[in-house]
Symmetry: C2
Subunit: 157 residues, 2 copies
DNA sequence: TATTGTTATACTCTATAACTATA
DNA sequence: TATAGTTATAGAGTATAACAATA
């Protein structure tokens, strides 16, 4: 197929990681679609689940989303009744972005989608292979100095 | 950090694959930039290296790029003197897209960038771990029914 | 009538800068 | 003077449809 000395793309670790990664990201977007949640709103909901009542600036810094873009994300979540902009106790300029009851109820469903996707993707692996893969991916991620839990796609927009 | 029962994102195989995959794809774009080559033009050059003189329609089907978008890709490569539109021997409607001498000379450089990236990404792994990872990724890719060598990002545009 | 390549248009998304209100 | 949030605008990138030439 390819010329002499040119390695096939599907034998390249970076290509496979990129191919799988983009496919998985797209698939996850599709899974979230029925819940009216996108990658950015999902990330905000998860950040609030970990630490509720953060300001938009805190969320921006934590998730790598620009503060201008964060406005539309919170608008969207507020329109869907999943979060509320409450007055910030320490700073009258800022809002305390807070999960509503509806937002909180949605979290287990979103988490279930993540688990379902993981099961599907690793269906062709044994439990042991799954553990090995997880370790190798974590090693690479740490070796590249990537921030745990911060997705590059979010920072782009 | 997260609520009870909610697994951290960096312990999820799909998240890690997506995080690494998108990062790697972005990094590869940066590596190709000095050569004036983007992901789509790169894909076309590789396809021509494997099989020169394909029509735009053949390239479209093989790479998952829409035929309308393919026009701009070939325009770009032609402007840079890397390929030429020659008359197709079998069909007067079609062009035989052909590598020029300059395009052919560029291939080893592009391949070297891929190798360099692979070395960098797997720097924190042993040779054995690298082999294991490659096998696991190929298993997953095949298990998901993905076409070898076809990158989902290309089909999006 | 179907297909190859092309062009034009509209649509989405993103990035940048400028504005307000508080600190 | 600096910061939190907002808004508006321009730019890039993408998708869709319609077109001319040939099969």
């Amino acid at each position: 197929m390819t010329g002499p000395g040119i390695v096939e793309l599907h034998q390249r670790i970076p290509f496979l990681l990129s191919q799988l990664g983009v496919h998985i990201a797209d698939d996850f977007v599709t899974r979230l679609l029925p819940y009216g949640v996108g990658p950015r709103t999902y990330a905000v909901l998860m950040a609030l689940a970990a630490d509720d009542g953060q300001s938009q600036r805190q969320l921006s810094q934590r998730l790598g989303i620009h503060r201008n873009a964060m406005v539309a994300v919170i608008d969207d979540l507020e329109d869907k009744g999943l979060v509320a902009r409450r007055p910030h106790p320490d700073d009258r300029r800022a809002f305390a972005v807070t999960l509503t009851a509806g937002g909180r109820e949605l979290l287990p469903d979103l988490d279930a989608q993540g688990r379902a996707q993981e099961d599907e993707i690793t269906a062709s692996l044994t439990a042991q292979e799954r553990a090995v893969l997880l370790g190798l991916l974590q090693t690479i991620s740490a070796g590249l100095g990537m921030s745990p839990g911060v997705h590059p796609k979010l920072a782009e927009g």
